[in-house]
């Protein structure tokens, strides 16, 4: 437990009041329309969604995860966080295409890109999946806060889970995305300041940067200073084959939509930007900040390693960054540090609450239930959905210990076998709704077989995760490619409309020629 003084509590209370105040302040803007409640009226300059991208991807469990991989692998552990770099290409490819589609959600995009029954099935499936995933992520992040509060105050985990998510829900229900984005900006600034302050404190506590370097070399562990300390081509816990697979997944994934689980949150930020250019820069700069933040954390964790080397228990060294803050900051600053942790926590909670509510309202309620709903009604449905997600997340959070392995598996299947279809849907005109739908279904079965069933019967060796990725990609393609060719292409009128609106990259020749034949595209003059 950590002892807080008057000044510490003052920091925390002031911070919570400002957060809730943001909701009250933007209440009038949020209630104007569905577009305001979920996309801030599509009018934000790039730096606001960029701050939100950064703040949202700085969750309570993020420092634990970064601490774990850096403590284990040294600076090479930075590559475990490099999956965020899908935004490098996405910012200038899929972000541009998605922003031009104007779809509120990825589920809605399915009906803009594909046509007919297959598209509707996809939209229904994806919106249901995203509502579920939002509740799961809220529980996951919420219980991490519960654990931090248990470490700091000795509270039972449910108190940290319920209290801070509930405070956050107040301004999300009041002001919707307006509240989320404005609070995210503030939270982003506070979180970055706290990360910088605590990390510098950790480095100083370890004797400064030069002392960390020389101490690691004296310990015979100078390899921890190299981001390229590979363990071999295919052997050890950091092989080059893993590194190449990671770069392949992360970077080329930027040509697609949904190749990273973070896409669904970013998609909302993309649509809230006022122009295509603002959308591109918001995604690029938000992620650049995330990657540089990880580097700041990494150096502090190296300092922690010098102070406490060779801790065998993962659960202990994953708390490294929190321990630096609570053990080394002076009295009066602990409250500021905890306010930073609250900022880190509720920026993620608020974003996911609003995102899940948007999928429910836009895709399930409006599209499938009540197509005549007024703007006022949709805002209220959004608020009620936010409340339901909040309450659902408490149950998920409290069950998390038992279901974590199942849900990590669910996340894995979401990423591996559908990685390529997520790109094909963007770059290839002939890939249709049935091909995409079958890739999801095939992946569900194949991942069970490859990851669990076949290895348990000895029919397949237990493969490292990067090899599972390649196997699932090839096996899945053997199913969805024939289905794509055996079913009809999407309706040409629909494809032409989508092409003219979104101007996708890749193999769209027949659709482009049809659009030109109809006189819908201007021929660019030679340069």
């Amino acid at each position: 437990m950590v002892a807080f003084g008057f000044l510490d509590w003052l920091w925390i209370i002031l911070y919570l009041l400002i957060m809730v105040g943001a909701g009250v302040l933007f209440y009038r803007l949020g209630r104007r329309s569905e577009s305001d409640f979920f996309l801030a009226g599509r009018g934000l300059p790039w730096w606001l969604p960029a701050a939100s991208v950064y703040a949202t991807h700085t969750a309570t469990d993020t420092p634990m995860w970064v601490s774990g991989v850096i403590y284990r692998h040294g600076l090479a552990g930075l590559w475990y966080s490099f999956f965020a770099a899908w935004c490098a290409i996405s910012a200038f490819v899929s972000t541009r295409i998605f922003r031009r589609s104007l779809a509120y959600t990825q589920a809605e995009w399915n009906t803009v890109r594909f046509s007919g029954l297959g598209a509707e099935l996809l939209r229904g499936w994806m919106s249901g999946w995203q509502v579920f995933m939002s509740m799961f992520i809220l529980g996951w992040v919420g219980i991490a806060m519960g654990k931090v509060c248990q470490y700091v105050f000795g509270w039972p985990t449910w108190i940290g889970l319920v209290v801070f998510s509930s405070v956050c829900a107040v301004y999300v229900m009041a002001a919707g995305y307006w509240g989320v984005i404005m609070a995210d900006f503030l939270q982003g600034v506070v979180a970055f300041a706290v990360i910088l302050l605590v990390s510098i404190w950790g480095v100083v506590a370890a004797g400064g940067p030069s002392a960390i370097v020389s101490r690691l070399q004296q310990m015979g562990e100078g390899w921890r200073l190299s981001p390229f300390a590979f363990s071999g081509w295919f052997t050890g816990d950091f092989p080059i084959a893993w590194f190449v697979t990671m770069l392949f997944i992360a970077l080329l994934g930027g040509f697609g939509m949904g190749t990273s689980i973070d896409w669904y949150v970013e998609a909302q930020r993309i649509q809230s930007a006022r122009t295509v250019r603002d959308a591109s820069y918001s995604i690029w700069w938000g992620t650049a900040l995330v990657l540089m933040r990880n580097s700041i954390w990494a150096v502090a964790i190296l300092g922690f390693y010098v102070l406490y080397p060779r801790i065998p228990d993962t659960a202990q060294y994953e708390m490294a960054w929190f321990r630096i803050g609570f053990e080394y900051l002076p009295a009066g600053m602990l409250g500021f540090f905890f306010a930073g942790i609250i900022a880190i926590h509720i920026s993620t909670i608020s974003a996911v609450l609003n995102l899940g509510a948007m999928y429910f309202t836009r895709d399930l309620y409006l599209h499938y239930w009540k197509q005549t709903a007024s703007e006022r009604e949709l805002v209220w449905v959004g608020r009620i959905a936010t409340l339901v997600l909040l309450i659902g997340s408490f149950f998920y959070g409290l069950m998390m210990e038992e279901i974590t392995s199942w849900l990590i598996f669910a996340l894995w299947i979401m990423a591996a076998g559908i990685w390529l279809p997520n790109i094909l849907q963007v770059v290839w005109w002939r890939f249709n709704a049935w091909g995409y739908l079958s890739s999801w279904i095939a992946n569900l079965g194949l991942s069970w077989l490859v990851v669990w069933v076949l290895p348990s019967f000895g029919l397949l060796p237990e493969l490292p995760d990067y090899q599972q990725f390649w196997v699932l990609m090839v096996l899945g393609a053997a199913i969805y490619l024939p289905i794509t060719f055996l079913t009809k292409p999407d309706d040409m009128d629909h494809l032409v409309r989508y092409y003219v609106m979104s101007r996708p990259i890749g193999w769209w020749g027949p659709v482009r020629r049809e659009a030109e034949r109809r006189g819908l595209l201007l021929r660019p003059e030679p340069t």
Binding site: T275, I296, L302, H367, P524, E525
Partner: protein
């Protein structure tokens, strides 16, 4: 033909051109240089400052290449956005459209 085109018409900007591909190539390199550069610079390693400097240069170059094109794409697209939004709403409220 210039190595990098800096003046665009709306029709030309809507096409995927070599400027996009340069950006697609430079952007991940900039991310890698910035991430590695910040970590090594904070450890006061000389290589870190060099890598970070290259990362900043790569970022500036990327923006210099793509920004004129993005400005034109955005300007042209915003003119059509209202019509596209109306179409999107009609599709979302499909039952009302059928009745109407």
């Amino acid at each position: 033909m210039a190595w990098i085109r800096r003046r665009w018409t709306p029709a030309a900007a809507d096409e995927w051109t070599k400027e996009d591909w340069y950006t697609i190539l430079i952007s991940p390199i900039a991310y890698i240089l910035l991430m590695v550069g910040v970590a090594l610079s904070l450890l006061l390693l000389p290589a870190g400052f060099l890598i970070l400097g290259l990362g900043v240069l790569a970022t500036l170059l990327m923006h210099w290449i793509i920004d004129p094109k993005l400005k034109v794409i955005s300007g042209e697209y915003e003119k059509k956005q209202r019509d596209y939004l109306e179409e999107l709403e009609r599709a979302a409220r499909w039952k009302e459209t059928d009745r109407g």
